[in-house]
């Protein structure tokens, strides 16, 4: 089922949570809404679900205007951040709940057959008589998913699906969710503030800031060509240097970088810590090493330029230099954005 949001607006009391967001999600696509807290991503997800209603704009499911359809008739599967499993029901009863309350009557054997099938799908066979309190967080997450899938939703919506889990479980579940999605081919929209999660899992990443979409594209597109300084910063560690642009060339301490399409005047130069080579000859921006931090697989070097701007970069574990060493920072893949 294709989903389309048309200039959706939502305001809470005085706080404008979502400003005119338009978005299309193709049938069968897995899309991540990525943004810092307060960027409106959860509000958008809840509006698609029908748990909140937009103040303006419209939401279409296929060709049908779903804006005013109540959540219980909208046919979405929603997985809550804290799972929201019914604590007084067993795992099996939780999964069966949606089928029991549904208008399409199913026989008891049909329901129990489907519960067994779903438990196998989420790899939790044999846990159906446990209560939510008796299983682990990762298992609860999968029960919540099975429960959402039980009602044959047109769309699957997940709110920070792995937010409450520890790092290892998180990575496993991520890969597993991708597999389930590829098996079922259900249109899926999920919310996260974790860049790695969004890039790892999604076909397309929609990056939000202050209630607006700032960039939307495949993980490759957003990583290789961040549309703004915000996206560059948000997707990963980035260094920022103040530069001056004239004639589409950015200049800092006599070093020149391409700055196509950037207006003359002050601007900002961004680059990743891995895109730096430390040189002793005169190639690059002059700097002094301030500190070296050791990490299991590399060394992180903190350096200061002559005019006092700080740069962090990654070097091989064999990097021999210490604090106070003078040298040059050679930057690969620089990006210039207006200040």
């Amino acid at each position: 089922m294709k989903i389309r949001l048309d200039t959706v607006v939502k305001t809470f009391d005085t706080f404008r949570a979502v400003h005119g967001v338009s978005l299309e999600i193709e049938s069968g696509e897995l899309v991540a809404l990525l943004g810092p807290s307060g960027s409106g991503k959860t509000t958008i997800l809840r509006m698609v679900a029908g748990l909140e209603f937009p103040d303006g704009g419209a939401i279409y499911f296929g060709d049908e205007n779903a804006t005013d359809i109540e959540v219980r008739h909208r046919g979405v599967g929603f997985v809550f951040q804290h799972y929201a499993l019914f604590p007084h029901m067993t795992v099996g009863e939780n999964i069966a709940f949606g089928m029991k309350v549904s208008k399409t009557k199913r026989s008891a054997t049909e329901i129990s057959g489907r519960v067994t099938h779903l438990l196998r799908l989420v790899q939790l066979e044999g846990l159906q008589d446990r209560f939510p309190a008796q299983i682990s967080g990762g298992q609860r997450q999968r029960v919540a998913l099975a429960r959402a899938l039980a009602v044959d939703p047109k769309v699957l919506l997940l709110d920070e699906p792995f937010g409450a889990l520890d790092a290892n479980v998180r990575r496993d579940l991520r890969r597993w969710l991708r597999k389930i999605h590829d098996e079922l081919g259900i249109t899926t929209l999920f919310v996260t503030h974790d860049q790695a999660e969004a890039l790892d899992l999604a076909d397309r990443v929609v990056i939000l800031d202050k209630g607006k979409i700032v960039q939307s594209g495949t993980p490759e597109e957003v990583c290789r060509a961040p549309a703004s300084a915000f996206v560059m910063n948000f997707l990963g560690d980035a260094n920022r240097l103040k530069v001056t642009v004239s004639d589409e060339k950015a200049q800092i301490q006599g070093v020149v970088f391409d700055a196509d399409g950037i207006a003359d005047g002050p601007a900002e130069l961004f680059f990743r810590p891995v895109d730096v080579t430390w040189r002793e000859d005169g190639h690059g921006i002059q700097a002094t090493i301030a500190r070296v931090i050791d990490r299991p697989d590399s060394r992180r070097v903190l350096a200061l330029t002559v005019d006092g701007q700080s740069i962090e970069f990654d070097a091989a574990p064999e990097f021999p230099f210490r604090a106070e060493t003078r040298g040059f920072v050679d930057i690969r893949r620089p990006r210039v954005y207006p200040a």
Binding site: A49, H88, V101, S102, A133, G138, R140, V169
Partner: protein, 297 residues
């Protein structure tokens, strides 16, 4: 070495002298203030034998007072239960203007002396009161009759159920109801199969506290009932009347019934507390707790 060990208290504030004197003081106070008077009730009630006790209880006025009390509870408790659930639901699940004000207003009966409530009802429904003449011309009796007693009892016990439910429902949040609705459940279905099972112990706890207060209420009821023997007397009022009649044994016998009701309530309360009611957080509510260490198969 051993000497030093015995002299030093195991923990701060546990010096033997301090510890023992505290325990003795508390036990003495409990015995004097709580246990002794209750024991006296039981003792005095049966001081002229079981036969006399039975005869006193069987007295038609006493029987009527018991009936009145039971009837009042039977009407006031269910109404206040529904009111309490609705209030707790509204306050915890919806945002609306005046929500905080409502939270304060339902606490008023706790802080206001019950007699004030009684006098207020006198003012509203009494002959010289706001609706007094209208009611009289319509031949509706509220004061000095069952409706007045029920209304006064309801006023006094209005917060009991809501007070138990609000903290619990606040801790539970709206996630469960939203989940049920997103799975296609109707409002009623959500309430009965998701909300109610998760609040049932706290609800029962509130109902029991409410019931014991309704049965024992004296101040508010004494103002509005008019104290008519055999007609508008509830059990607590009847006990006072008997006592003023110098019928000490009768008073104690009636009081022992009320005390027995209280004991039953207490037992039910303890049993419910064991199931986790009456606490803000339920220990078994694990759905919201983030799991920290775990393994995925």
């Amino acid at each position: 070495m051993a000497k030093a060990k015995t002299r030093r208290p195991p923990r701060i504030g546990e010096a033997p002298v301090f510890r023992n004197s505290m325990i003795v003081i508390v036990l003495t106070l409990v015995a004097l203030v709580i246990v002794a008077p209750l024991a006296v009730i039981g003792f005095e009630a049966f001081s002229k034998g079981i036969a006399y006790f039975a005869k006193t209880i069987a007295n038609s006025d006493t029987r009527h007072a018991i009936l009145m009390t039971a009837l009042t509870a039977l009407i006031a408790v269910p109404i206040n239960t529904v009111f309490g659930v609705a209030t707790a639901w509204a306050i915890t699940k919806f945002d609306f203007p005046g929500r905080r004000l409502l939270l304060i207003i339902i606490e008023i009966p706790f802080s206001v002396s019950p007699i004030v409530a009684g006098v207020a009802y006198l003012f509203v429904y009494g002959l010289q009161g706001l609706f007094g003449e209208t009611l009289q011309s319509a031949d509706v009796r509220i004061l000095f009759a069952l409706p007045g007693i029920v209304l006064a009892s309801m006023f006094v016990t209005a917060p009991f159920v809501a007070r138990e439910l609000i903290p619990l429902m606040q801790a539970q949040g709206r996630d469960l109801e939203e989940a049920a609705t997103s799975l296609g459940a109707s409002g009623w279905r959500t309430f009965f199969s998701v909300t109610l099972p998760n609040i049932k112990w706290a609800l029962l706890y509130g109902v029991i506290l409410c019931n014991s207060r309704v049965m024992g209420e004296f101040g508010a009821v004494s103002v509005v009932s008019g104290n008519i023997r055999g007609q508008t007397n509830t059990l607590p009022l009847h006990i006072e009347l008997l006592y003023h009649d110098y019928n000490a044994v009768g008073a104690f016998a009636a009081a022992s019934i009320l005390a027995a009701l209280a004991v039953v309530t207490l037992i039910a309360k303890v049993a419910l507390e064991r199931r986790g009611a009456g606490r803000v957080r339920r220990p078994s509510l694990a759905g919201t707790a983030p799991a920290t260490s775990e393994t995925t198969p």
